[in-house]
């Protein structure tokens, strides 16, 4: 075989994929970079990355093992590393557990309030220490 130019793999025949019963989501197409809204429709953040329950990197996956699941949506410094490379340490990741998600559409909807989550701490900090100090900050528009 001619090894000087790598041959691009062309699958001979594509089988029709097994069609799962529920909602099918492609991460990049339907989940990543979508807005996350809380139960009141207030934006919380965007989906910057997704955390899976497994597998261990660089470890052989035993045959017949259960597929991993999404444990959490990630936000925060992980946006920078997703764009430029690398990975922040686990303690710096801001997690929104998958259990809090109610629906996935053009946005990801949560069943909990924004203020109850770690993900909104910058908003709360700025609210309490900057905006609240400027007169009129808490008035209805």
């Amino acid at each position: 075989m001619n090894k000087s130019k790598p041959k691009r793999f062309q699958p001979q025949q594509l089988h029709a994929a097994p069609y799962p019963a529920g909602l099918v989501l492609d991460a990049q197409l339907h989940l990543l970079d979508r807005q996350i809204l809380d139960v009141d429709g207030v934006p919380v953040t965007t989906v910057d990355d997704i955390e899976l329950s497994g597998p261990e990197p660089d470890e052989k996956i035993p045959e017949g093992s259960a597929p991993p699941q999404i444990t959490a949506l990630l936000t925060g410094p992980v946006l920078g590393t997703r764009i430029f490379g690398g990975r922040p340490p686990s303690s710096r990741l801001i997690r929104i557990p998958w259990k809090a998600v109610v629906g996935v559409d053009t946005v990801v909807s949560l069943g909990v309030r924004a203020d109850s989550m770690d993900a909104s701490w910058v908003e709360r900090w700025l609210r309490n220490h900057v905006i609240a100090r400027i007169p009129g900050g808490r008035h209805e528009p």
């Binding site: 990543l32 970079d33 910057d48 709360r124 609210r127 900057v130 528009p141």
Partner: protein, 409 residues
């Protein structure tokens, strides 16, 4: 009757809100150097902004998602961040230019040095962003901005040779004393002035602010299709005044006084006063729009809560970022840079940044997941792809032309 008033208000606001410092300066410069031979660019630009605003407004009304959310979701974070960086920088440049414009107009009115008006303009812009309701803000600045129709009145009063003006407009050619490179450079600048990205960010976010639904689409289409072309007509009037008064005398536009000269000549002190009122309103309105646009783009990219319909306490990051933008704009002005110069660069950079903003809108306007059955029809798609091509060409040609002509010198 009330509906009719509402419709009229929408259209009038669109006309008055169309012209900003970029249109004022660029059209005056073009008129003073090229006469009406670049009028066709205004036409192309107006059709483009109508198309663009219509699509992004429809996306916002049907899906509830504003432009920059769509940009990040479609392009991914890397290209989205590049777009954000470019758009944000241009927005800050434009905020700087608009605040400078307010101050320059006030200087024209009062004789007090413009730099002294800048802090006053900053505070006024911020107060409106902080407290005034969105619709009131839009309506007041739009309606008062209609005073700029004094340019059209002045053009008539100047009794120009209509045949000559029409000849320049309908059979455009590069004038003898200018080169082809400079002609096309200003064509791109004029195009960028008509199709500013901040206009689209603002328009689509405004649709979410005002809670447009599908039933409001017809009204918005009317506002756009009647308002923007009439605004374009005002732009042409500005160029026409410059062509009639400045071009023959060889006066070049370096400050607002030259822009105002034809109007003062035609209608005296009264016309000048109306003009200044119009310029203050138009630049003030544009300063509000670009400041809000800066906030919208950042908030929509990062997923913050945003909107003037929320209490500032509920959109803290949004408001803090706008305060930072305003302070940055004033800091730039404090260095003594000429706001007219900043304006001239900002319109060209706007033209460069258009493709990255425009493509995702065109894509999403065709996506049934966002639009349901309100996806683009074939005619809109054909126009959209044609404009995509035009925008790409303008964007790619801008920097080489800028270098080759020394930014239109």
């Amino acid at each position: 009757m009330k509906r009719l008033l509402g419709v009229a208000l929408g259209i009038l606001t669109a006309i008055g809100g169309f012209v900003d410092i970029g249109d004022l300066v660029t059209n005056a410069v073009v008129g003073s150097r090229f006469g009406m031979s670049l009028a066709w660019v205004v036409l192309v630009g107006v059709v483009g902004i109508c198309l663009f605003a219509n699509m992004s407004g429809r996306v916002a009304a049907v899906s509830g998602r504003a432009t920059f959310e769509v940009i990040r979701e479609r392009l991914g974070p890397r290209a989205g961040l590049a777009n954000l960086g470019a758009s944000f920088l241009i927005n800050v440049m434009t905020v700087t230019a608009e605040i400078g414009g307010i101050a320059l107009a006030l200087q024209l009115a009062s004789g007090v040095a413009y730099i002294l008006w800048v802090p006053f303009a900053l505070l006024a812009v911020w107060l409106v962003v902080w407290r005034v309701k969105f619709s009131i803000m839009e309506n007041v600045t739009g309606l008062v901005g209609l005073s700029l129709v004094v340019f059209a009145v002045a053009l008539f009063l100047l009794k120009p040779d209509w045949g000559a003006l029409a000849g320049q407009a309908f059979s455009p050619s590069v004038p003898a004393q200018e080169g082809a490179g400079v002609y096309w450079y200003y064509a791109i600048a004029l195009f960028g002035a008509a199709m500013t990205p901040y206009e689209v960010f603002f328009f689509s976010s405004g649709a979410v602010e005002e809670r447009w639904k599908i039933k409001d689409l017809a009204q918005s289409r009317l506002n756009v299709l009647l308002g923007f072309p009439l605004g374009g007509f005002l732009s042409l009037a500005i160029a026409g005044c410059a062509a009639v008064v400045l071009l023959p005398a060889g006066i070049s536009v370096t400050s607002l006084s030259q822009v105002a000269l034809p109007v003062a000549q035609a209608g005296g002190q009264l016309a000048l006063a109306v003009l200044i009122l119009g310029v203050v309103a138009a630049t003030f309105g544009a300063a509000l729009e670009t400041t809000l646009s800066s906030g919208y783009t950042l908030a929509q990219f990062f997923g913050w809560s945003w909107g003037k319909f929320r209490r500032p306490a509920q959109a803290a990051r949004f408001h803090v970022s706008m305060i930072v933008v305003l302070l940055a704009g004033v800091a730039v002005l404090a260095t003594g840079v000429d706001p007219i110069l900043v304006t001239e660069y900002s319109v060209v950079f706007s033209a460069i940044a258009l493709p990255l903003t425009y493509l995702p809108i065109l894509i999403v306007a065709n996506d049934p997941q966002y639009m349901g059955k309100h996806v683009n029809n074939r005619a809109v798609n054909i126009a959209g792809v044609i404009y995509l091509f035009i925008i790409l060409v303008a964007s790619l040609a801008a920097i080489p032309l800028m270098i080759a002509t020394g930014a239109g010198a």
